[in-house]
């Protein structure tokens, strides 16, 4: 019995298509829910995107499974479903189209949404399910042989009866399976014990090998995929949904509409039966390039398109013809365009994947940071060590935003890490250079000017303004002779020791004692900008070093305090 099996998704959540078989998505429809035999399956199986491809029907859940238990009421069903959809991943299940007998559509009525029912066909290509615990249960729950349909060799009808009786449709009694093993290639009836066909020397299937039905390679028995053509030989985790006593049906509920289109697509796909056709390489290449569906990805390594679940469907005819003539030219142009598009998309795919990863990481770090913040002081020492380690690593990564202001250490000296200090030393060296050259004339310079000069000097490896200012503030601690300061007006300056408060005031007092100052003279004398000189003088007035005569903007020695 075949049923849903797990479909592979890429890391970005796209379906992995079978490249060799030129599988292409014909139609995608969101908001589709799955039913298991009249039981509406709960989340996450109730909302997903259905993709009809040329080889199978794939259903991708819309949301990642959050709960580890999915309860349907049926214990075995729960176990199965749990395996199909492990927590924190997106469930994706698929049915091979060749398992489907027929499909029919039920239109929506009143409150029920339109549904497509798929009758499943029993074939004898059921892969042996070994090794997984689920299969053990399935074997115990395996349908008794009597209920298992056998297909008539003449009319291909699925008979439900013992194989020895007549076929219901054509009345032919099937020959019992002979003791001889028919060679898959030339159908010569070999003896049962033969390993190689006597006629064509094709390796006969035995208990130790599995012949791939498409390329006839003899694979080892436990291979899931053929090594040559990657045809799915056996579902590793083929889990049987619990046996249905009536018929094996799969129901799809279309809660977002689009049932008709999907039905048509399924019909077309069933009709086309692309899985049976061996496609030529050319066709494959064409179909692979033409298919612009963005929610599927080829298995070939060069491709890495991103999947968007709501990609518009490309209704391309499965009966493709080699493009010739004007149409061919146009098509070729289109192909080239789309090839370019693909290249671009692939170029960004990595970035998107990285971003997704980074997003995961940031979420993780935020969560941890939140936990850190909630942590009280009663944590044990080991906890504190861990916390400190975490914090330092976060800071090393630069994810200080995740830490939040509360977590950032309060005392500068304890936590100015080496990076700040190293940067500060670099800035100090640069300052030496600047002041020596006379660009900062007078050994005081605004931080914004210095920042621009510094970054220009650095070239490519620039620093952020915040980092620069942090490093500047560390300068004073390093005692290299420079100091960063914020003046009263908010201007930030870096200056040499000459402009430190004590030295500045002494100089001013001596000067003011001789004659009155004004801003222009002060600027000329100190070699600074006039505005800066004005601010420095204002600063001096605010500290009582000199007194100001407002109407003329002159500065005198402070006679008030001397008297």
């Amino acid at each position: 019995m075949h049923a849903w099996h797990r479909a592979d998704l890429t890391a970005a959540g796209r379906i992995v298509l079978d490249d060799a078989g030129a599988e292409a998505i014909a139609r995608s429809q969101p908001r589709v829910g799955l039913y298991h035999d009249q039981i509406r399956l709960p989340s996450p199986f109730d909302d997903g995107t259905l993709h009809v491809s040329s080889h199978r029907i794939v259903w991708v859940a819309a949301a990642a499974t959050t709960t580890s238990k999915i309860a349907t009421g049926d214990v075995t069903a729960d176990a199965v479903l749990a395996r199909l959809a492990p927590a924190s991943t997106v469930a994706a299940v698929a049915i091979q189209l060749d398992r489907i007998d027929r499909a029919w559509l039920q239109a929506g009525f009143l409150r029920s949404s339109p549904k497509i029912t798929l009758d499943l066909v029993w074939t004898d290509l059921a892969p042996p399910s070994t090794g997984t615990p689920g299969t053990a249960s399935t074997t115990s729950l395996a349908v008794p042989a009597a209920a298992k349909p056998w297909s008539c060799a003449v009319c291909d009808f699925a008979n439900f009866g013992p194989p020895s009786t007549k076929c219901a449709r054509c009345g032919v009694v099937p020959t019992p399976p002979s003791t001889s093993a028919a060679c898959p290639q030339c159908t010569f009836a070999n003896r049962a014990s033969a390993t190689v066909c006597a006629m064509c020397a094709y390796p006969l299937p035995s208990s130790s090998t599995t012949i791939c039905p498409r390329c006839t390679l003899a694979n080892p028995v436990d291979a899931t995929k053929c090594r040559a053509c990657t045809y799915v030989l056996r579902d590793e985790e083929a889990v049987m949904l619990p046996p249905v006593l009536k018929t094996a049906t799969v129901k799809l509920s279309f809660r977002g509409g689009g049932a008709n289109a999907v039905y048509k697509a399924i019909k077309d796909a069933l009709q086309a039966q692309a899985w049976k056709r061996v496609t030529s390489p050319r066709e494959r290449a064409v179909s692979s390039s033409v298919t612009a569906s963005r929610d599927a990805v080829r298995l070939s390594p060069m491709q890495g398109r991103l999947a968007s679940p709501l990609a518009p469907s490309m209704d391309m005819g499965f009966g493709m013809v080699a493009p010739i003539g004007v149409g061919g030219l146009v098509k070729r142009q289109e192909q080239e365009q789309q090839l370019q598009q693909q290249t671009l998309d692939s170029a960004f795919a990595d970035l998107d994947a990285l971003m997704a990863k980074a997003h995961d990481m940031v979420t993780l770090s935020n969560a941890i940071a939140a936990k850190l913040r909630a942590r009280t002081a009663t944590g044990t020492e080991s906890d504190e060590a861990l916390v400190a380690q975490f914090r330092s690593s976060m800071m090393a990564l630069g994810a200080t935003a995740a830490l939040g202001a509360a977590d950032l250490p309060s005392s500068r000296a304890a936590t100015t890490d080496d990076r700040d200090r190293a940067l500060a030393r670099e800035v100090a060296d640069f300052l030496h250079h600047v002041f020596a050259q006379g660009k900062g004339q007078g050994q005081i310079i605004a931080v914004s000017d210095l920042y621009c000069m510094f970054n220009r000097a650095r070239g490519v490896a620039m620093v952020s303004p915040h980092d620069f200012w942090t490093a500047a503030q560390v300068l004073a601690m390093l005692q290299v002779g420079f100091e960063a300061r914020t003046l009263a007006s908010g201007t930030r300056v870096v200056h040499a020791a000459r402009f430190a408060d004590a030295a500045l005031f002494t100089d001013l007092r001596q000067w003011a004692a001789r004659d009155a100052l004004d801003v222009a003279t002060a600027a000329a004398r100190w070699g600074v900008a006039v505005a800066l000189a004005a601010q420095l003088l204002k600063h001096a007035v605010a500290h009582g070093c000199v007194v100001v005569d407002a109407p003329a903007d002159m500065y005198f020695a402070n006679r008030f305090l001397e008297a």
Partner: protein
Amino acid sequence: MSTNYAPPVPFEFPPIYSFPPFFTLQPHAPSRDKQVTAWVDLIRAYCTHHRVYRLSLNASILDLPLFRNAALNRSVSRDMLHTLLTALVKADLAEWTSKSKTHVFVYWKSLSEWSDTLVAWAKDNGFANTVVTGYEVRLGDYVTDQEFYAMDEAVFAKVVAHLDHQRRIVMINPSSNVDELGFKIIG
């Protein structure tokens, strides 16, 4: 200013008066305190010399030689003047006329000092224990050489009230018109 007293000797300004920053209120707090103190002393000296009883925050006051140094072309601003008057009031050298704080009475001599002066004059000149009128004491012919000659009416009324409060006079005719006040200084 409400009196037309012309002092015989011109007022001598202290040297700080010629210091231009003196006319700008300094932002540095200790300097500002010293500056305001210097201003208070200067105002007091000036008012004593010129017998100024009132100062008001109007436009014309900024033209007083006290507040404007023509030689330096500097004058006190209105805000600074308000600060100075407030400091004057705080130093008990002045009193706001009304709640609106636009005028002050300048007590270059305090009310007690005025009371003592009046009583001393009365005793020395034989006006003790005799009935005198407000007009007589303030503008009479016998007081032309006294310090309190032509004192501002309101200030005089306050002095008399103070004396009354100190029980150093007997009020004979309390009147709102200062000139019609009648009292007897007990001596």
